[in-house]
Amino acid sequence: MDLFSTLVLLLDSTVRLSVPLLFAALAGLYSERSGVFDIGLEGKMLAGAFAAGAAAAVSGSAWVGLMAAVLVSSFMALVHGFASITHRGNQIVSGVAINFIAAGSTIILGQAWFSQGGRTPLVGSDGRFGAIHLPFADALRGVPVVGPLYSQLLSGHSLLVYLAFLLVPFTWWVLFRTRFGLRLRAVGENPAAVDTAGISVQWLRYRAVICTGVLTGLAGTYLALAQNAGFVKDMTAGRGFIALAALIFAKWRPVPVMFACLLFGFLDALSIRIQGTPLPLIGRVPVQFMQALPYILTVVLLAGFIGRAIPPRAGGVPYVKER
């Protein structure tokens, strides 16, 4: 296999691997821009994946799975909202709780309902989001350079992949071109300004948290019904935290979030690719090192290369009316 086709394959799996990160990071962006920190992305994604796997297995429909995932992870987002917005609880504690609940309950419910050691039964092709072939993908396959790029890199992904990447400009547009976005950014910086302008801080933050729930639901659905054919226990494997790293890395901005997710997806793809193959000069790279790279990279880059990531000013602080 020549270098070019290796590269195309590598980029292709980069795209696939970065999609769950992208959904989750954009999910976190809505919440955190409104001033509600969310380290429960992982848990919501996991619960979403389980709901998608379970519902698709029972109904045989991928769309039912998606609905279930969105509902379940939105519900968990609302729990986080109830604790941290209505009751002004500690957002980190609430997020950690969500992660634990999701990790435990998915295994218990999976075992109770399907008795397959915490997994959900494999779903058939109707229960999955299959690949969509863009027009002329086959016809163009033979064309040098452009052909493989179009037919392999652009074409042949599931609906959710295209949706994830379309959500990037959409989120940018919402954030910077709509009234809702203006208020969302304002409430994350200075909720008192929003309150005195006659807008409900709580309702605004709840709406942001619901956006987060919907998007983590999509992330979970992608893992269970597009990348795999069912739910496997702990299948998020820390992606929620990598997404959070990407979000910080990108300083809470949609387009840089996409690039950060692609970068982390690329590292993931690379680690799978070079697993076991010794590299020239370096030798065999331990797979653990590759897995740790996104975190190391975040720390190193934030520490010196791209400047400080300044979170939304009101982030993590419950809003209490006072003067």
Partner: protein
């Protein structure tokens, strides 16, 4: 007389056992500037917050333009044409002026059209009221005076006819305050009704038509400004006669004890904040440093007290140098007789969650009288604190109360008591009466004069020109990091004002 723009009937509000507002009746005539004056904690801000829907009154009624108004939230107040400029600005620091103005009043779901509309409306308001500000500037890049202007524009943009300003001049320079008053008068001429909340008597006299005085949650009097005097208002506020300018005898300065030579200090970005400053303070005199906030006074204080690194220059305390690496040992400086009342009592002077008695010895806790072997002598510390509470009239008189629960004036007295009772040789004081009530100001000023008369050297930094003029034996004016002039205590306000504004010495003398 026309219908009152605002009428409050029997407004009461309690927070727990504290009665912030008791049975308040107030009428504000349309097209006037109505001042509400009172000490901190008198209930002015609570009353206005009730009017703006931030709090609900426990009882009482509000009438706006003769109609009974139920105000549950800020949006109700805005709908009634009430706008408010808060003491702490309600602006989003990284938004543009335009974005801040339209926030909450966008009108349409998409920003493009609402921004375009707002831009032309803003231009009209700027033209009509002389409120120029660049609509595309980002808030954090604007000086506070302009930020306040944005707050006023926000209220006008929402169609406010009644504008409430809560302590608007606290953050402004004298010139900016003067400009604000011109704007307020102009708004009044356009038929707007303005409510001005302040604790500064001279502002009331300068700009209002009527004034209401609040004390301990009650409205004690309403007067026509033209028919009252500063003395009467001060007495109504405090409930007893107050001296607005402390009496003091002549200074009897002795030897030089603190001297600063050619001091230069830069901030993190390398900008010169203190530029080649030299000054001397003798025992038995108060040297005041006047200047608009942000002209290097803070940096000068922090450097002299050993907290900030100097680029060059020396500071000598009683013949021995002060370490200027920014790492000076504060305990060592205290042992050598330097006491420091920092400008920012919340961040530097006190640990707010601590009990009063703990703050009363903080920094001096190593002294023999407070320790018992390796342990603190809690009994002695509490006795000591109780003594200071009595001597400095700190209220409430409970030494075990959390410091955060004291009012600003009493917190300041806690710091002053701690530093003054150590019998220092040199007292460095920054903004001693910032956010402090009239009654407490009088007390603090008297104590500072006492210190001087006991032969201490006092270096006073304040942005309150009145304070500098009434206390200082010599006045130095700082501008852009330099000392631009020295004057005696009889210098006029105008003369000092010119120096503070950076007008050259020669021109000022002319």
């Amino acid at each position: 007389m026309a219908e009152a723009a605002i009428e409050l009937k029997g407004i009461s509000k309690s927070f727990g056992s504290v009665r912030a507002n008791r049975d308040i009746d107030l009428k504000i005539a349309p097209g006037t500037i109505h001042g509400i004056i009172g000490e901190n904690g008198a209930g002015k801000s609570t009353l206005m917050s009730i009017l703006y829907g931030f709090y609900q009154a426990d009882s009482g009624e509000i009438f706006v333009n003769g109609e009974r108004a139920v105000i549950h939230a800020s949006s109700d107040a805005i709908a009634r044409g009430i706008g408010m400029v808060h003491q702490h600005f309600m602006l989003v620091h990284n938004f543009t002026v335009l974005e801040n103005v339209i926030l909450g009043a966008e009108g349409e779901p998409l920003l493009k059209t609402s921004i375009a509309k707002a831009r032309s409306e803003l231009e009209r308001l700027e033209r009509d009221y002389g409120l120029e500000v660049d609509p595309d500037a980002v808030i954090e890049d604007l000086p506070v005076g302009l930020q306040q202007r944005v707050e006023i524009l926000k209220a006008l943009f929402r169609g406010a006819d009644i504008l409430i300003l809560d302590e608007p001049t606290g953050v402004l320079t004298p010139a900016e305050a003067e400009h604000l008053f011109r704007i307020l008068r102009q708004l009044k001429d356009e038929g707007k009704t303005i409510v001005l909340i302040t604790h500064k008597l001279r502002e009331i006299m300068a700009v209002t038509d009527n004034v209401s005085v609040m004390r301990q949650g009650a409205l004690v009097a309403t007067r026509k400004t033209a028919e009252t005097t500063v003395e009467e208002l001060a007495e109504l506020m405090v409930g007893r006669r107050v001296l607005l300018r402390v009496e003091k005898g002549d200074a009897h300065p002795g030897d030089f004890i603190l001297s600063v030579k050619n001091l230069t200090v830069e901030d993190m970005r390398g900008v010169k904040m203190v530029d080649d400053v030299s000054l001397d303070v003798r025992t038995g005199e108060i040297v005041g440093i006047a200047g608009v906030a942000g002209n290097g006074q803070t940096e000068l204080l922090e450097t002299i007290t050993g907290m900030r690194k100097a680029v060059s220059g020396t500071v000598t305390l009683d013949g021995a140098p002060v370490e200027l690496t920014g790492e000076a040992d504060p305990t060592d400086l205290r042992r050598r007789g330097m006491a420091h009342v920092p400008e920012d009592r919340h961040n530097m002077g006190l640990v707010l969650p601590f009990e009063e008695n703990e703050n009363a010895i903080l920094g001096y806790h190593w002294q023999d009288k407070y320790v018992n072997g390796p342990f603190l002598d809690i009994e002695a510390i509490r006795r000591d604190a109780q003594g200071k509470i009595e001597k400095y009239d700190i209220r409430p008189t409970d030494a075990r109360l959390k410091t955060a629960n004291f009012s600003g004036g009493n917190q300041q007295k806690i710091v002053l008591a701690r530093e003054m009772e150590q019998d220092p040789k040199v007292l460095i004081v920054g903004q001693p009466t910032r956010g402090v009530d009239v009654g407490a100001i009088e007390f603090i000023h008297k104590r500072l004069i006492d210190m001087r008369d006991q032969g201490k050297a006092v270096l006073l930094v304040s942005v309150e020109l009145d304070e500098i003029r009434s206390l200082s034996d010599r006045i130095l004016v700082m501008f852009a990091g330099r000392i631009v002039g020295e004057r005696g205590p009889d210098a006029t306000e105008g003369e000092l004002g010119l120096l503070m504004a950076g007008v050259e010495e020669k021109e000022a003398a002319e």
